[in-house]
């Protein structure tokens, strides 16, 4: 083994070390030592990620591998059908795809760590916070470096634990720990499906090594793949089913419908957490999972079109929800849900590099926006209601500039990062081989509408916070440089980040990212070709949607004033019948069930003895009551269950032998 080539395996070890040190000795450290320690360890990981990136980039055989020990026992039938043991090894692998992810995680992670040194200043749990953050980085790195699904699953659950701990970080508020629990449990439901997907994959491929599975598609002909022409095509049933299970797992982690309700609540955590976990990294794990399993999804067109549709619906849902929010972080949270939907559209269309492209650009500008919000919240004394802000342009000049950059980037204004990735998504779904012609165009149209809405609500966010006059009562002041420097770096990335994936018409080899990921996450076969003028029209439309969104939003705000408490309910509703219709649909189709489920989950937490049962569905409350009637404490009531159980089972056997 070449030590240099296995250096990358230290990446998760360093922050894990930091976690251990901070958990054990953190209490004795003086601020800001824990923050500096944690940040520097993450920075070292970032250096390792860069080294790994440099090693991987020129490689054609794009895999660095580290194997440690026989991890999971597994049985495989050999040629004679005899079960033989073939243990799965606990291994890390670095390829182009995971290299990109490690750069994002450690890079953004480092910036957010630094920001948090300032943001968490004076907090009682300062060292605890950095311990959790380090733990999160370690788990996230395990997730992306894993070379097999079970190892990935460890990281997958680990980030869930970290997210749970961090959402509930400010535990004095009961709401926070409820939100933490809800997030973990909803995630776990997705995880259960991921596990089932793993079983199915093992049964189909006799291995759980991701790279073996992906490469097996080159040699093994999977039966029953109908040719992809029109309408919905299906791969072999176990493959489709496994892909669907993986999709559900991914949907839980990435807050896609119907498992999306937890993410907005998760904003209860400290803002750096929202930026790091619930915008930049953890929530993109679902997208990563689909891209990582590209072999499976590329050969499961049915599941892939599901991915696209779920993504599209989530994108609309998130965008519509974001319009009406008044909490500075909730707007961004719903925006994240919406953008994650965008990424799902990309990976569902079979253009895996595009999904990762958007993961990267989104990480830049969304982390930037969240950290700016943090800076704003910090400045105005903890106020989070945008109606109590405004006019912060002069008072927080730095924050204002970077926020504007972030807003324009996410809105998709040329030449900022968001423009390129969004355009890549729209054009890839337009030409996608999956889902047939209709789906492709329909989702493209939805994407365009979402782009319009995104620009609209983000402009609203920006102008309510920074334009006009200050409506609150605090004395805003600019944050310290430990907080503003990360903002500048992220802003710079948001400006230039898009150039790693320039559109095709600019030249053959200008798209660096697609070429880079060609081996690790190749596109699915069968994208349509569109002519240059078609591509230009698509780009023009996307740009028009973004600009239109901003202008529309400006017009509404100019007309209605910044105090838009009843913005969507009354004025906007009166102004546009069409929007009113969407609003109602949103209420009926999305908000009500989402609210219902979240209420049930909250009921589970708050209702003392009856807790929990209500969590699952309305009817289970009665089931709970009948359970306690059943468990009445009387011996004879228990014995009758035994007798009846026996009688029914024996009766069943007797009847069966009759037949």
């Amino acid at each position: 083994m070449d030590f240099n080539h296995n250096l990358f395996a230290l990446m998760p070890v360093l922050p894990l070390l930091g976690w251990l040190v901070l958990i054990v000795w953190g209490k004795n450290m003086k601020e800001p030592t824990p923050g500096i320690l944690a940040s520097s360890l993450v920075f070292l990981s970032f250096v390792l990620a860069v080294v790994g990136f440099v090693q991987v980039s020129p490689m054609k055989e794009p895999l660095l591998n580290t194997l440690r020990w026989d991890f999971l026992p597994m049985w495989v039938s050999d040629a004679k059908g005899v079960l033989v043991s073939k243990p799965l090894q606990f291994g890390f692998a670095l390829d182009h795809l995971s290299s990109i992810m490690t750069l994002i995680i450690t890079g953004i992670g480092f910036l957010i760590h630094v920001f948090a040194i300032g943001y968490m200043h004076g907090d009682k749990g300062f060292s605890r916070f950095f311990a959790y953050l380090n733990f999160f980085i370690a788990m996230m790195l395990i997730l992306v470096l894993a070379d097999s699904y079970p190892v990935l699953f460890i990281g997958w659950e680990g980030v869930g634990v970290a997210s749970y701990l961090l959402i509930g970080f400010w535990y004095t508020d009961v709401k926070n720990s409820d939100a933490a629990r809800k997030a973990f449990i909803v995630n776990r439901i997705g995880d259960a499906f991921l596990m089932l997907g793993m079983f199915l994959l093992f049964m189909t491929f006799h291995t759980l090594n991701i790279h073996e599975i992906n490469s097996s598609f080159g040699s093994v002909v999977i039966p029953n793949v109908t040719t992809i022409s029109t309408g919905i095509a299906f791969g072999s049933p176990p493959l489709e089913l496994a892909a669907l299970f993986l999709l559900l797992g991914a949907a839980g982690k990435s807050a896609q419908l119907p498992l999306s309700t937890w993410l907005p609540d998760a904003m209860a955590g400290p803002t750096p957490v929202s930026a790091l976990i619930h915008a930049a990294t953890m929530v993109t794990a679902g997208v990563y999972l689909v891209a990582r399993s590209h072999g499976i999804f590329a050969n499961a067109p049915g599941a892939s079109s599901w991915v696209m549709w779920i993504g599209a619906l989530t994108a609309v849902y998130g965008a519509l929800s974001a319009i009406a929010q008044t909490d500075i972080k909730k707007i961004l949270a719903y925006s994240t849900v919406s953008q994650l939907g965008y990424m799902f559209i990309a990976v569902g269309s079979g253009a895996y590099w595009v999904g990762i492209f958007h993961v990267a650009t989104h990480a830049f500008f969304k982390a930037l926006l969240f950290l700016s919000s943090g800076s704003v919240i910090h400045a105005v004394g903890g106020e989070q209601d945008v109606r109590q802000m405004g006019g912060l342009r002069e008072k927080l000049p730095t924050t204002h500039i970077v926020s504007l950059i972030g807003t324009l980037a996410i809105a998709g204004i040329i030449p900022l990062a968001g423009f390129f990735s969004k355009d890549a998504i729209l054009s890839s779904v337009f030409t996608s081989p999956f889902g047939g012609d209709f789906s492709g165009y329909a989702i493209w149209a939805i994407g365009l509408i979402v782009a319009f809405l995104t620009a609209g609500y983000m402009w609203r966010w920006y102008s309510l916070v920074f334009l006009g006059t200050y409506r609150g009562h605090a004395h805003p002041h600019e944050s310290s440089s430990v907080m503003t420097v990360p903002l500048w770096i992220l802003a710079a990335l948001s400006v230039v980040g898009g150039f790693i994936g320039l559109p095709h018409f600019l030249g053959k080899n200008v798209n660096w990212l697609e070429g880079f990921l060609e081996e690790a996450a190749p596109n699915a076969l069968g994208f349509h070709e569109i002519p240059l003028w078609g591509e230009l029209i698509l780009i023009a439309l996307a740009l028009a949607a973004a600009v239109g969104g901003i202008l529309f939003s400006r017009w509404i705000i100019a007309r209605d004033g910044v105090n838009s408490a009843g913005w969507i309910a009354t004025r906007f509703g009166n102004a546009s019948r069409k929007a009113l219709f969407v609003d109602q649909t949103y209420d009926i189709a999305v908000s009500a069930p989402a609210k219902f489920i979240s209420e049930q989950l909250e009921l589970a937490d708050t209702h003392g003895l009856d807790r929990g049962i209500g969590a699952l569905a309305n009817g289970t409350a009665e089931a709970g009551a009948s359970l306690s009637v059943w468990q009445s404490g009387f011996v004879r009531a228990y014995a009758i269950a035994v007798l009846l159980g026996t009688a029914i089972l024996v009766g069943y056997l007797a009847l069966r032998s009759f037949a």
């Binding site: 306690s628 404490g633 009387f634 011996v635 004879r636 026996t646």
Partner: protein
């Protein structure tokens, strides 16, 4: 000679009677008597099967089960008496504070 089936059917009936009695009696002692009845039904079945197979093992097993029943009785009556010291009733319905 009477066929084995009849013995087994008789054992089945005795077993079921014991099971019903276990549920309908409220006194711990009487419930316990019903368990003894069920054990005897099992013994009868074993003895009948022993004859059907011509195998003395089953009869030896009955001998073991008899001992087992005796041990169970020692413990069971011990528990009943111990509880009776504090609560002068063998009514099991009184013992229903643990529930839910």
């Amino acid at each position: 000679m009477v066929e084995t089936q009849y013995y087994i059917a008789l054992a089945a009936i005795l077993f079921s009677i014991g099971a019903v009695g276990f549920l309908t009696r409220r006194s711990a002692i009487q419930m316990f008597l019903c368990v003894e009845l069920m054990l005897n039904a099992a013994n009868l079945a074993l003895v009948a099967f022993s004859r059907a197979w011509g195998d003395l093992l089953a009869q030896s097993a009955v001998f073991i089960i008899l001992t087992l029943a005796a041990a169970e009785v020692a413990i069971g009556l011990g528990i009943i008496v111990a509880i009776f010291k504090k609560r002068p009733t063998t009514n099991v319905d009184v013992l229903s504070s643990l529930k839910g």
